[in-house]
Each structure stands twice: as C-alpha cells, then as structure tokens.
Amino acid sequence: MNPSRQRSAGQGDPLSLEKMKAADPLSPARKPKSPKPENAITIAVSSRVLFNMDVEQQIFEQKGMEEYLKYQVDHETEPFAPGPAFPFIKALEAVNAQLRDLYPESEELFDVVLMTNNHAHAGIRLINSINHHKLFVERFCMTGGNSLIGYLKAYHTNLYLSADSSKVREAIDEGIAAATMFSPEKVTQVSETQLRVAFDGDAVLFSDESERIYKAQGLDKFFEHEQAHENKPLDHGPLKGFLEVLGKLQRKFYAKGHRIDCPIRTYLVTARSAASAGSRALKTLRAWGLETDEALFLAGAPKGPMLAKIKPHIFFDDQMFHIEGAAELGTVAAHVPYGIAQKQPPKRMKDSVEPNSTQKGPQLLIN
C-alpha cells in the first residue's frame, strides 16, 4: 500500500492517495459516494441559480464572451455568493443526511448536478465556489455553449432549475420538469432542517385544460365545468413527477416513524376555491396516489402573503403574476413556462437575456 501524501488537489499537482481513498466506499474518512443517476432524485441546477453571478452576467452582456471568461479566470479564487437555489440545495442536503441515517444502503437520495452552458474556463471558479460553500455537488456538465438536453436526459434529471427561461422551455418541451428561478426581493429565513416545496395546481401539477376553459369562457363556466367533471382526474402537468418523488421519500420517513416531524413538507397553493373547483384538484391527486401535506385554496386571492407564512424553499407557478407576488414578499419563486398562461409576456420581472435579443453571434448564453 502506498503511503498517503498530503497534497492539495487543485494546485496542478497530481492527485494524492488520500483523495482517491475518499472516493473508495470502504475507506473510513470518506465523503459519501454519489448515487447512480437512475436511483437518485437528480436536481440539475444552472450556475446562475446556484450562485449569484449578476456582476459576471453584466460583463457578458455588455462586453462579450472573451471579456467575461477572462474576468472569471482572473477572479478564480474568489467564490461566488449564494444564488436563489442555494437554500433549496442546502435543504436537500439536510434531507439526504437524514435519509442516510435511516437507510444507509439506499441510493434513493437527492443528487445535485451543476448543469450549465458555461464554458469550462469558468469551471475552476465554479468548483472553488462549491468547495467554499461545502456543497455536495459532485457532478457537473459545462457544455461550452452546446445544448443541455442530452445531458439532462443522461442524468435522468427529475428537476431542472435555471435562470434562462428559453432553456427551461426547451426542457419542458422534452418532458423534463423544469422551472425558471427568480431571486426574491428580500431574504426570508427558511428552515434548515425541513425541506418545504409549494406547488400551484393548474399547469404545474395538473395540465392546463381547466385554465383554458377559464380563459376562453370565463369564471362561471370554469366552475360549472369543474363541478361537472369533479370525479374525472385532470391530466398531469410538468411537475407531477417531482411531487411524486417527494412523496416517495416522505413515505420512507413515515415508515421509520417520522410522520409528524417529516423533513419534507409539500403544499398545494392554488387559486381554486375550496367550495367549488378545489374538489376536483384533491380528487385528482388522490386518484394519482399523491397528496400534499397542506392544500391552500385561495379563491383568487394573492398568493404572496400565504407563501410568506409557509416559507417554502421553492414555489412553482405557471403565472408570472403569482411569481412576482411571491418574490415581493420574500419567497423564492420558480416559473413553469407551460400551458395557456404563457401567451402573455412577463410584466415586471427582469428575465435573463433571450437569444437573438442582444447577441449577434452564436447563441452562447451563460446559464
């Protein structure tokens, strides 16, 4: 057996034996091994939602790719500050720690993968930042401008979060659950031990079929339709699968007696009202064998205040109006660009740079 050598990786030195043993599951002082993608719940995050890259994004938009990459390399040893997905990722790690305690052999864990269009020149700074914040992100794809879709699929991605709505839309079109993340206007303290995920109903968990009726025929017809079809489950929406995997993990906690203090809590936050259209929503979930811990029927009232009380790590909605309302009061909100509501452009939120808007050359967006 070779003696171990204490050399730090990342200085351009060859790798020490110590680091290699860290990858060996039988070695005592080890990092946990990453689960196989087909077993894990893979959350793919872009660099701009994991970290705050506002300064760098501005340099890219104003001065172009070469200047942007030079800046990244020049500032390589300066870690980025956390981005909007950061609290969510930390909460996933907390859940993983608890899952490992209860099920040490299981690979049904969250696996966070950095999935970015970024050029590998920015890679070392990103890796240094991950190290600085002690995040458990072992896997990454930096595609240097090429499409992410093949890689999202290669990792069996369960959820893709990005700051770039065009990439999110592309992913949803390919059947991958995805959402565009926005930073809240103020920082809310969220739980470090319990993961809280809030979902809108229509066009997020469910299809947009009922929303279409509401838009085409008005509120009364919508109520009529929903009550008439109360017992017919709605079709599924892009985030149904993600709720499903969360439910699966919840049941693992219940099985070990952690029902009341389950480290995962889910919420349905819908504009439907409990009196009428809400019933169909609940019955649909039940028909799918799914449930949320809490179901909040707002009957059209703004979602912001309710979400501020719940303090979720992330809230998914298909309508920018609700996203903006949530962000105003400090909730990290993620837009699901799916369904009939997308015909209207976003009102106030600063979206990321769209292709062809300011760039002349190849559509090399920093993601």
Partner: protein, 280 residues
C-alpha cells in the same frame, strides 16, 4: 515492407501534426458501388472535421505551419482494395497526403519512418501498441451518424490527467486489472506531448465559434479531480471548452451526447467489483 506512397501538394513542414489513421476506419471495405467507390467507414466524418479545422487555420494565416497532415494506413490490404482506396479518397474529396500499405507486423515501423505525431484508430489494441512504442495515440470514435459536425471534438480523460505515476498502482485497490493499469500508464506517457500540440492549435481560435473543441470527461473522480485536470492541462497550454464530471455515473449516455471524434483513453473500462457491469 511494401510501402506505396502518393504525395499531393500540401504545405510541408516539421510543425505539421502528422496524423495517421487506418483505412478500415475511414472506409467501409465491405460495401462498394459499381464503380468501386467504397462506403463510408465509422470514422469517415472525422476526416471532414479535420479538413474544416485546417481550412480555418489557413484562413487565419496562409502560412500556418501547424495543421493536420493526414496519412492513411492500410494493414494487409489486397491490391484491388488499394486502388479502391485511392479512388474513393479522391471521390470524396479527402485531403490525404500519403497512403501507406504495410503488413500487420510493420505498422509501428511505418509510424516511426514517417515521424507520425498522432496515431488514431477505432481499435483499442492498436492504440495501446502505438502508445507503448512511444507514439501519442488515441481512440478514433465511431460516429453515431454520418452527419457532419461543425466541430472537431477532442476528448481527454480527467482521471488520467489528474492521477500521478505514484497513485496509479493503488488503482488496483479499486479493482482494476493489471492490463488496465498498464494501459492507463501507457495512456499517461504520451499525453503531455499531444496536449501541448493540440493546445497550440486551439489557441489559434477564439472562445466562441471554434472548429476545434476540447472536452474533459472525468468518469471516476469527482469535482476536485476535474479541477486538478483542468489546471494541469492549462499548465500545458491546453484550454478546455467543455467539462463533464461523472463521479461514477455511467459514461455512455454522456459520451453519446458529446460525440467526440478523438478520445484519449484511460483504459479503465469494465471495472470489476462495482455494480457497473458491462461497458462503462
């Protein structure tokens, strides 16, 4: 050694990246049209990608000395096939400077005699023979489709670059066989030379819109291994465009998406003792 040589007019200099490929990889010797033109082989589009790089290099600088100079090798070819190969190369407009036909035993000698700086083959055994004889050699990847890509993609293994000679033997603890370790060492031996050459070439182009793309894939290691590999390559003058870190995830789905042409192999396949059975 029976060597038939045909030269065409191209810029000649010592700086040329003399690259030898096998005719079996470029042409499909089993399919022919009536006129004797051979079908396209598994790595046919590689030639086109190389030609695109050469064209762009010449655009930047007419007198560019560092270009790919392609040599086609044929092992144990029959006479009829030889002329089919000449004609097919002409038919497809392939800019191949020289053709060498030799016997299986002599192919290393042929590489030596022609100062080959890079040998590419879809046959792993051939690649390792060349590496062990001291020639930079890499896998020529079978292309999934005949569609011409707009980039020549050169892929390096992060595990290979990051590990040193000292740590290689301990790989046996992780379940790799002696043969795999030998291949790993062979892959390590010539990689710096090749990386520096390709790095030089890559520098001729900007970050965007480059006809040459450098890719780093780290299969077994996690992010720190990748960081070490990126820094090592940078130290050799090679800047990476795309980087993927798998930390033990299966490599095929990622490689299928990347679609490299040239892959500098690390020899660590079919790892025993893990749940990754089969091709990794």
């Amino acid at each position: 050694m029976d060597t038939e040589v045909r030269k065409t007019a191209i810029v000649k200099s010592d700086a040329m990246l003399v690259t030898a490929v096998s005719c079996y990889d470029i042409f499909d010797l089993h399919t022919q049209t009536e006129s004797g033109t051979l079908g396209k082989g598994a790595a046919f589009t590689f030639i086109k990608a190389v030609q695109a790089v050469n064209k762009r290099l010449a655009m930047h600088n007419e007198k560019e000395a560092l270009q790919f100079e392609l040599i086609l090798l044929g092992k144990d070819c029959e006479e009829q096939i030889k002329s089919n190969i000449f004609d097919s190369a002409k038919h497809y407009g392939l800019e191949i400077g020289r053709f060498y036909f030799c016997s299986r035993e002599d192919f290393i000698e042929t590489l030596k005699a022609n100062k080959v700086k890079l040998f590419l083959s879809t046959d792993r055994d051939d690649v390792y023979s060349a590496l062990k004889a001291g020639f930079p050699a890499a896998l020529l990847c079978q292309q999934v489709s005949q569609q011409i890509q707009d980039q020549l993609k050169v892929l390096f293994s992060g595990d290979l670059i990051a590990h040193s000679e000292d740590t290689i033997d301990s790989l046996k603890d992780l379940g790799f066989s002696d043969v795999q370790i030998q291949n790993f060492k062979a892959g390590k031996s010539c990689i710096r030379e090749f990386a520096m050459l390709i790095g030089e070439m890559r520098k001729r182009f900007g970050c965007e819109d480059s006809p040459l793309h450098i890719i780093l894939v780290t299969v077994w290691g996690s992010r720190d291994v990748s960081a070490t590999a990126l820094k090592t390559l940078r130290g050799w003058g090679l800047y990476v465009d795309e980087a993927y870190c798998l930390a033990g995830a299966p490599r095929s789905p990622v490689l299928t998406t990347v679609q490299p042409h040239i892959l500098w192999d690390d020899g660590l396949h079919f790892m025993k003792g893990t749940s990754h059975g089969g091709e990794q």
